[in-house]
């Protein structure tokens, strides 16, 4: 069985009160009654002895003063039931050979009362004997005192005990209440508060106004809750800081991975650039020989064709001339590729100068548009610009950055045109609604400048996204692109300007290149 603090207090109080009640109601009254009765018997015995002594003196010395005084004293006592003088007469019984003792009442007071010499004490009367013996007379003084006074005294004792017991019970009840208030109530409040704090409420305090240990416990609890709340707040703050640090670290990790990726890419591009430059340099000389000798041979064949030749000979000369034309055409194309490759190798060779990026973008946007219109006069595209007027002149290699913008715009025009033709071929509703749009925008930021070139063309498929900056990678048909434009642009921006070139695209919807330059 489990007892609470309050139960234990009440059990203790009730136990103490019961012990008090036992002593007050049973033990002490019994003791008092015992002593009272003993004293009463002693008193009656003393009176009997006094009367007996008085009788003896009266009979032996003929002095009745003592017995007179004793009898007067006894007779005045209200507790007296009777006083009797018993005369004892002894005679030898011949038959039994023993002395026969006869007791007779000589005189008694009150006269009308006739006590029996054989009486003994009972609940209502105490009877005491005191012998006397003279030559003239032998006998006993027999005193009978009633016990009404004793019974009355007993009753008073019990009533007093009951009253005191009632007071003790009341006092015990009050002490119990006081203890419950002083101990049980604060302890239970402390328990409830502890449960509430344990449940998560860190603002739960107890009232601790007492100056005793209970009060100290309450104050210690309040301090503990306060410390706990403070520690929790600090913990939350630390967690927030930790989360922020984690976020920073994750961001740094992403940036690091990006930088690592860019570094790898840069290294790769640098290696490819060097390789390309080496190859171009080595190819350029034999290519020059091919082109030059093709031209010379073509001139020789022209001269030979003016001579008298048989028709078969003329056909052969003409075929040779056609072949030479093809050799020369493809040789020049190869030369162009080699030149581009060489340009790639010296992409960062320009000089930095402060340039208005908005003007630069505007200039090369029109240059690119008119360039494509020159080769394809049916091409039509909406050009949109959103130049940031806050943009300050930035130190760049103007011609190189122009080539980058030109490359990106050429690709954008190509992409919107391809999408347009595809939609036309598919003859869908989208084909009628589709409008080719290329947007060039700039943005001034704290510490950098951004140039965005966006088209609503076919977009770049996800699977080739990581290869678009590789040299010689192109999705254009053979002869339409060398695959060096984006690679060259990447080198100019990243290696030449310490910037960044990023692409964002959704296949079939748009492509956006973002050039970030330090300002």
């Amino acid at each position: 069985m489990r007892f609470g603090v309050k139960s234990k207090i009440w059990i203790t109080i009730i136990g103490i009160v019961m012990i008090f009640a036992f002593f007050l109601l049973i033990f002490f009254p019994m003791q008092q009654e015992k002593y009272l009765l003993k004293n009463y018997e002693k008193e009656v015995q003393t009176l009997a002895n006094t009367v007996a002594l008085g009788v003896k003196i009266a009979l032996t010395e003929q002095n009745f003063e003592g017995v007179q005084t004793a009898i007067d004293f006894v007779n005045k006592d209200k507790r007296l039931t009777f006083v009797a003088m018993i005369q004892t007469d002894s005679s030898f019984n011949e038959q039994t050979k023993k002395a026969d003792v006869k007791k007779n009442v000589f005189k008694s007071y009150p006269e009308t009362f006739s006590p029996d010499p054989g009486w003994i004490s009972n609940d209502t009367m105490i009877i005491k004997w005191s012998p006397f013996s003279t030559d003239m007379m032998k006998g006993q003084i027999m005193l009978g005192f009633d016990t009404s006074e004793i019974i009355k005294s007993k009753k008073e004792i019990r009533q007093t005990s009951l009253l005191v017991c009632g007071l003790i019970l009341l006092l015990g009840f009050l002490v119990g209440l006081w203890l419950a208030r002083q101990i049980s109530v604060p302890v239970l409040a402390l328990r409830d508060a502890a449960l509430e704090v344990g449940g998560g409420n860190r603002n739960k305090y107890v009232i601790a106004t007492q100056t005793d240990e209970i009060g100290e416990l309450g104050r210690a609890f309040n301090e503990m809750v306060s410390d706990l709340r403070q520690a929790e707040e600090e913990n939350i703050k630390s967690n927030k800081n930790l989360a922020a640090s984690n976020a920073h670290l994750e961001e740094a990790l992403v940036e690091l991975k990006s930088a690592q990726s860019q570094l790898i890419h840069s290294e790769k591009m640098a290696s490819l650039g060097q390789l390309t430059a080496g190859i171009a340099h080595e190819i350029k000389n034999p290519l020059n020989f091919i082109n030059n000798f093709a031209e010379i041979t073509s001139e020789l064949l022209n001269e030979a064709s003016q001579a008298n030749l048989t028709p078969e000979q003329r056909d052969l000369v003409n075929q040779a001339k056609d072949n030479l034309i093809k050799i020369n055409t493809h040789g020049k194309r190869a030369d162009s590729i080699v030149k581009n490759m060489l340009q790639h190798s010296r992409a960062t060779a320009g000089e930095f100068q402060f340039s208005d990026i908005n003007d630069l973008c505007n200039e090369f946007m029109h240059l690119a548009y008119h360039g494509i219109r020159a080769t394809n006069n049916v091409f039509n595209c909406t050009l949109e610009t959103n130049f940031d007027p806050r943009l300050r002149p930035v130190k760049v290699m103007r011609e190189d950055l122009g080539r980058v913008i030109l490359n990106l715009l050429n690709n954008a025009f190509y992409a919107v045109n391809e999408k347009y033709h595809r939609l036309q071929n598919e003859n869908t509703d989208e084909a009628h609604e589709f409008r080719r749009i290329v947007t060039v925008s700039t943005q001034a930021n704290e510490g950098n400048v951004k140039i965005r070139i966006r088209d609503n063309g076919n977009g770049i498929p996800e699977e080739i996204m990581d290869r678009i900056f590789n040299p010689f990678f192109t999705t254009k048909p053979t002869g339409s692109g060398t695959g060096l434009g984006l690679s060259l642009s990447y080198d100019i921006v990243v290696k030449g300007h310490n910037g960044n070139l990023q692409v964002e695209s959704v296949a079939g919807r748009y492509t956006q290149f973002t050039i970030t330059l330090p300002a």
Binding site: A58, Q62, Q68, I71, M136
Partner: protein, 144 residues
């Protein structure tokens, strides 16, 4: 002759007996006690039958102890009892609260002083001396 002798012996014995019975006188305190009393009244007073005098004074009896000649004479002339009977008589009265016991004295002088000092006291002596007390006549006689 024998009869004469016997008669003489009895005569002298009787004479001697009479010679032992002393004349007794009654003395009293000056307060309460009348100057003359009848023998019956005296006996009544001395037996404790009368508790107060005519003026309301409480009766106090003073007697010579029964082992004195005066006491012995008092036993015979007043009480007609033996010493033990007298003691029992007074013990019974005292025990039952009917009377106040007499004061017994060994000498007449003591008795006389007691009577003189106790209002309402009356005593029996063989030879009353002079003092501050009254000599009560019984049936007109100073002694009996």
């Amino acid at each position: 002759m024998l009869a004469v002798i016997t008669s003489l012996i009895l005569f002298f014995a009787g004479f001697h007996g009479f010679a032992q019975d002393q004349n007794l006188s009654v003395i009293s305190n000056t307060k309460g006690v009348p100057d003359d009393m009848k023998m019956e009244d005296l006996r009544s007073v001395l037996k404790g039958e009368k508790q107060r005098w005519g003026d309301g004074t409480k009766v106090v009896v003073a007697l010579m102890k029964t082992n004195t000649p005066a006491g012995s004479s008092t036993l015979k002339k007043i009480y007609g009892m033996t010493s033990d009977e007298l003691n029992k008589y007074w013990l019974a009265l005292v025990f039952q609260g009917k009377a106040k016991a007499p004061a017994f004295f060994n000498s007449a002088a003591e008795l006389q002083v007691f009577v003189e000092q106790t209002p309402g006291a009356i005593g029996i002596v063989d030879s009353p001396g002079s003092g501050n007390h009254k000599k009560i006549t019984i049936d007109g006689k100073k002694t009996f």
